[in-house]
């Protein structure tokens, strides 16, 4: 069972002073961005778009044949958690997925497990500075060694549970022991769920304040300036005119929208894999608070969703997001294939020679075709 921290320490780990400093630096752009994010209508649009993105992502993933893809009500819950998670800057919120509700919706334990896993809820937690120390070959204190051993044990256990869940999903029959283990694991997740819900209830006022501060923190100039160059080329995040346009784009739920978001360093682990979308929904992956030290914000990697208008004439009006994904997906693969052609041509090969390879594999038929 994963060892989720369920006391106040998560909130205490957030460096409020640091955030306040950032807030002091607030400028016009900052205010404008906040206005956009404070608009409820925009939020609804954001929600809808995230939902569509997730649907599309699931379509290309191993989960496409499961209820996750088919049941919009579950997806709604997921999207809510996802957005909350982004705003709170805390992994623990992602753990608030209501597994009991999922059970009522008649999901198989495996599907519940995978859904839960997808929301990044079951990762073992460790202070990331310990992992960094190990990476650098530095010596751990006895206390740190103990923590790391426990982390390793939890990781092992998680992997075993993953294996079990996938085994069941793959149609293999679990033996009695395995069934007991998987069910007990699911039960333990539900207990955590309930504990976390209590935590949320107790901390509501604190969370509300934190939410506001976090919102400001995400959009501070320093972090935005860390955008990869290629993204900066697409849109200058401080260009108010572009944000105005983005604001309008929020209103169009037809998918005629391009997403960008902002990358930050140390994006080492993530509960969300949006590989297919990554070209235009650059998700700055969500990294849980319990992976980070409060005073070292650079260990955070957070998700931001910023919408910018599509490049002019790139997509006709009314294009659905799934079509964009399809197009981008095609582009991604064909580009990779083309890389091999480029390599060969640079090595002196002629197109005609490259063409002959497939013909030679087809063999006789092609020779006959030539004779006709």
């Amino acid at each position: 069972m994963t060892n989720i921290i369920i006391d106040d320490t998560i909130l205490q780990k957030i460096n409020v002073k640091e955030m306040e400093k950032i807030m002091e630096k607030e400028n016009t752009t900052q205010k404008r961005i906040n206005e956009i994010f404070d608009d409820e209508n925009i939020y609804e649009e954001l929600r809808e778009n995230i939902k569509n993105s997730i649907l599309d992502e699931l379509y290309y993933s191993e989960l496409k044949d499961t209820h996750f893809y088919k049941a919009p009500e579950v997806l709604d819950q997921f999207v809510d958690v996802f957005i909350e998670d982004i705003l709170y800057d805390n992994g623990f919120k992602a753990d608030l997925m209501d597994l009991n509700k999922l059970r009522k919706l008649d999901y198989t334990p495996t599907e519940m497990y995978l859904f839960r896993r997808n929301s990044s809820g079951n990762k073992p937690k460790i202070d990331i500075s310990i992992l960094f120390k190990i990476e650098k070959g530095e010596r751990l204190t006895p206390e740190e060694e103990g923590i790391y051993r426990e982390y390793e044990q939890q990781t092992l256990e998680r992997d075993r549970n993953n294996h079990l869940a996938f085994k069941a999903l793959g149609g293999d029959n679990l033996n009695d022991d395995e069934k007991i283990r998987l069910n007990s694991y699911l039960d333990s997740l539900i207990s955590e769920e309930e504990a976390l819900k209590r935590l949320e209830e107790e901390n509501k006022p604190k969370i509300k304040a934190l939410r506001k501060k976090m919102k400001d923190k995400y959009f501070n100039k320093e972090r935005l300036s860390k955008m990869p160059e290629r993204l900066c080329n697409i849109s200058d995040p401080f260009d108010l005119e572009k944000f105005e346009k983005a604001n309008k784009i929020f209103k169009g739920v037809n998918g005629n929208t391009e997403f960008i978001s902002i990358d930050v360093p140390n994006n080492t682990e993530s509960g969300y894999d949006f590989e297919v979308l990554s070209e235009y929904i650059i998700i700055v992956q969500n990294m849980s608070a319990y992976y980070s030290k409060g005073d070292t914000n650079e260990h955070y990697a957070h998700t931001l969703w910023i919408y910018i208008p599509p490049r002019e004439n790139e997509y006709p009006e009314g294009t659905h997001l799934s079509d964009l994904i399809h197009k981008r997906n095609m582009n991604k693969w064909t580009k990779e294939f083309k890389g091999f052609v480029d390599d060969m041509m640079e090595g002196g090969a002629k197109i005609a020679d490259i063409l002959k390879i497939t013909d030679s594999i087809l063999g006789e038929k092609v020779e006959n075709r030539g004779k006709e």
Binding site: T334, V341, M345
Partner: protein, 113 residues
Amino acid sequence: MNNSIEFKRGLTEVAMIIHYLPSEIKNKIPIEFKKSVLDKMDTRFTPALFDKNKALDEQAISKDAKKILASIYINYLATDEEKKQLATEEKEIARKLEEEKKRKYSTDVFKKK
């Protein structure tokens, strides 16, 4: 067809890659070709596992497999526009190679002087 064992193993690798391609790409490759690959590949050879998290050029695949994939691209995946672009690139590369030759030649002459 190149009947070397290396080429046949390249076909095995290509068969594996085709298996992992998204359907929209896979469907563009004619069944006839896919069948030929399966017929002619080295079935005793086990290629390195395809890593979904890596780009194609980062996969552990042979030169022969890469050549076959290049050919698949031109024959089945590239649009007419992309083919035209390739032809232009080909000319450009040829021009550069020619220039490079000339440059080397003229440098040598200069040295002799």
